[in-house]
Symmetry: C2
């Protein structure tokens, strides 16, 4: 079976000029992949008529499905709709259903329906109206000359709602789709080339319909297995069998699968074990608490965090001894130990975590350069302290410190050996 | 003068399948824009020979500069280098300088130089070697048939280092560049269409060489002015004159310019005023402290934060009265008032900020649905409290709450009227 292919196009000068972050194409690519549609290209072009017309005609030749986002706003610089009319050689008219919706949208919010906003309800004559319940620009579906074109607003939550409610179901009922199964192993604490050498023989022996990719990111490498075939059950069994073979080679490094972030894994372990947590942060400045509390239901195990930037806060709120700070400084083994034990004691939790270091760019000394960071974990049995020597910028050092401490907590919760 | 154009190409299945976030193209687009190179298209293709060859030949026809990132890793799925050799019809050889570097790179880290890693020093014969001091894959510069091709590793900090140290200076000395001047006004608290109506007459009167774009994001709309001409001084003066005209129409909404985030603006105002800050966070769970502390030098005004998830932490660390929590609940005006005043008192700061609410997805009631959030600011003069009713998911509600409180602090620091 020939794979069904898609091309994703974002429209907007702001993307080309690097002034906004495009998160849409990543999300769309993942959703298409999950239903067996292969994205063959992603492109961004500016808000220019000629550029949009040209990419539409190129994409029509390459892909079965062309998904456009952006350029549907009410302002003058948004020209996607008029350009689609030109491309399809058609006019546009107010769509009655869309007009009712946009009118109610403004009424509900007690805002006046302006002439500009009314135009949001105007659609190309060959478009199928896709209702957008989250905003004023409707989605549009076209099926012309054997190719599907979809035009969606660029606002992420509006685009996502339209994709989920309207576009993906229509794609599934329009095209016969092959079965693709992805499985991701997520590792922490080992570099890409070392991982590759460790699993080389296994990789070389993979069957040809199962592909492996290495996806490195800060302090982590993800291994993605992609299997293509006809039966999801068969593919899942084959991929699981491959994972069972490779896991013993890298087990201490594997912290999770698929969409798991390390904070999700730690959250699950805390929930299952019934243990509780408190956090004392200096150099991470609240970021570690944020990683924990952004997970729904975290109040079940997270009691409190203290961002003890000043020495006074370390003494008053965490009971760090002034002598310790004087003799060893805030970035030291004795201080981090007292911080972790102090926060654990103060809030009566199973575990107390602590960070203190020089995240940069300023504050480094010869003895303690930027990137010198202490982390600690206090438990009922012991207090573990560890010194990190990091080389990133301020934000990278903050992120890396939080990940290292989460990984330490994960190892303790799982009962893995500490290195 | 014809504009010098660029096309940015990312290579990697992981981008098409939506498994990693591409931050590189945004950064490259912004850097090119800043030196007057106009990015005309961005594309992503997979790790497939045919797709890479095809986009190389298309891009060569469209742009003066073609920048590729990704596919230079040491593993088998990375094929950019061999495909470039095929495209240019050339062989490759170990580059002596690159080999010395890669050997030392591994020596310094006490790691063995594997055969796989040695191949990182092999380059196409027509490539100019661009030393990558941050990793093992060198950058490459090609000048063929009047077009510049640049191939860079996909790891963001390696790519950025190579762009800054090698690629941008070479582009500047290779091409005669026009002058482009961007200026961005950043607004908060007004929707795109209302902003558009308010400034419509001004927008219509803009000269043709100055373009306006609306860039909406959560709770904010950025207005970008782009002027093209021959003299930077003239363009700056013209853009400043336009800003002077539009500012009176929208002054309370404008919080900053260009790359300013609201936390940067607040940080500057705190530093300049000599005031200090402490924060009590419930629903934002450390995120607000993180926004403040991710800014270098924040220890000058930020004393401490408390993430008081449990009621016990609210009472013990912030001196919230147990009667207040019992009578009104944690998400209430009396509690948020005591939290802000308590944290300010406890840490002796000029301002105390506090958040408490139901970020979701669980925990809502009929009386206090998900999205019900209280924020407060305690100052020497008064305590301001405000109820927000938000409609996003957990993370959006956390972000929006933090932004609202930062904007409240900004207004107090600037002396703007509070609404």
């Amino acid at each position: 079976m020939r794979p069904v292919t898609a091309e994703i196009i974002t429209i907007g000068d702001e993307i080309l000029f690097g002034q906004i972050t495009d998160t849409n194409t990543q999300w769309i690519g993942a959703e298409l992949s999950a239903i067996g549609v292969r994205t063959v290209r992603k492109s961004s072009v500016g808000d220019q008529r000629a550029a949009i017309l040209s990419i539409l005609s190129e994409a029509e030749q390459r892909a079965d499905i062309v998904i456009l986002t952006g350029g549907l706003g009410p302002t003058k610089d948004d020209i996607t709709k008029t350009t689609l009319c030109e491309y399809f050689n058609t006019g546009q008219a107010i769509h009655p259903e869309a007009l009712v919706f946009v009118t109610e949208f403004f009424q509900k919010r007690g805002r006046e329906l302006t002439e500009i906003n009314k135009l949001q309800a105007s659609l190309p004559l060959n478009a199928t109206y896709l209702p957008n319940t989250r905003g004023t620009a409707p989605g549009m579906w076209f099926y012309e000359r054997g190719t599907v074109f979809v035009s969606l607003p660029g606002v992420p939550h509006e685009m996502k709602g339209l994709m989920t409610d309207e576009v993906l179901p229509r794609i599934k009922s329009t095209f016969p789709l092959p079965v693709i199964h992805h499985k991701m192993l997520r590792t922490i604490g080992i570099g890409e080339s070392f991982l590759a050498e460790r699993i080389e023989a296994w990789e070389d022996a993979l069957p040809s319909h199962i592909k492996l990719a290495y996806l490195p990111s800060m302090g982590m490498v993800k291994l993605r297995l992609t299997a293509t075939g006809e039966s999801l059950e068969v593919l899942q069994a084959e991929v699981n069998a491959e994972i069972a073979k490779v896991l013993p080679l890298i087990s201490t490094y594997v912290y999770g699968y698929d969409g798991d972030e390390i904070e999700d894994v730690v959250a699950r372990l805390l929930r299952e074990s019934g243990h509780s947590l408190s956090i004392a942060e200096s150099c991470t400045g609240g970021y570690l608490s944020h990683l924990i509390t952004k997970i729904p239901g975290s109040s079940a195990y997270f009691q409190a965090g203290v961002v003890s930037y000043s020495n006074a806060a370390k003494m008053n709120t965490l009971d760090v001894q002034s002598a310790t700070l004087e003799n060893y400084g805030a970035v030291s083994e004795p201080t981090i130990r007292e911080m972790a034990e102090g926060v654990r004691e103060r809030f009566g939790t199973t575990f107390g975590l602590a960070t203190s270091g020089i995240a940069g760019p300023d504050g480094g000394t010869t003895e303690k350069p930027v990137g010198t960071i202490w982390i600690a974990l206090a438990s009922p049995e012991q207090t573990i302290t560890k010194k990190l020597t990091l080389g990133g910028d301020r934000l990278q050092n903050i992120h890396q410190t939080a990940l290292s401490l989460l990984n330490l907590l994960r190892k303790v919760l799982v009962g893995l050996p500490l290195d």
